[in-house]
Symmetry: C2
DNA sequence: CTTATATGTCGAAATATTTGGTTATGAAAG
DNA sequence: CTTTCATAACCAAATATTTCGACATATAAG
């Protein structure tokens, strides 16, 4: 039994942990699935196809961005979001590697 | 923009979604990290190294088991848990494959 | 400069999750 | 059979998250 991790997540896992927490919500999972390959979407477009209010969507987008799952850039009045594939892959790979050692 | 997923998670993703939700909690993440390779742990052992009460740990174990992240078996009075590596890998692979198509 | 538009932020209410004490169940021990 | 032990189930309280309307900010348009 490894008791090193029972009080706090080790720092190496902090990022992974944040990504999984961000992805651990159906609304946010659905937002991710909305993106087509390479697509950039602005907040309004995402709100339009969502069942949630603008501010709820904004809240979820913030969580996804802070976890590094989405990247964003403001262009004119709009803020565009897109998948940060690299970051997601890194987190998944970290867990995959952990499983391989298990 | 793929609007097929904006109302509900597609059934193919239901499992994946449940795994990520289960893993999207620090207590549960820490429980997983407690298992050493191939190890089976009973509830009491996990409670012992946890900061939570017995019933809170039980609650988290149930969520992990229902998501298929952990398997369990009752042996005598104790219930032993272990990582269901196959299930976790399948979910991670599903997302990996999705990312590759993006 | 004023107005319109896109988005973010705030705050309170609604909702969901987590938590731990208590009770129930089932298996072993006496 | 009774007691003891491990765990699950139940329930209410505590806590956290989500939600949305109202307000704030920033940019573009008129």
């Amino acid at each position: 039994m490894n008791i090193n991790y029972t009080k706090e997540i080790p720092s190496a896992w902090k990022n992974v942990s944040r990504v999984f927490s961000a992805l651990g919500d159906e609304h946010r999972q659905r937002i991710l699935l909305t993106f087509e390959p390479g697509e950039h979407l602005n907040v309004g477009q995402i709100v339009e196809v969502s069942t949630l209010s603008r501010s709820a969507v904004s809240h979820h987008l913030r969580i996804l961005r802070e976890a590094g799952v989405l990247d964003s850039e403001k262009i004119g009045k709009e803020v565009y979001f897109w998948l940060n594939k690299k970051q997601i892959k890194e987190s998944l790979t970290a867990v995959m590697d952990y499983l391989k050692s298990q």
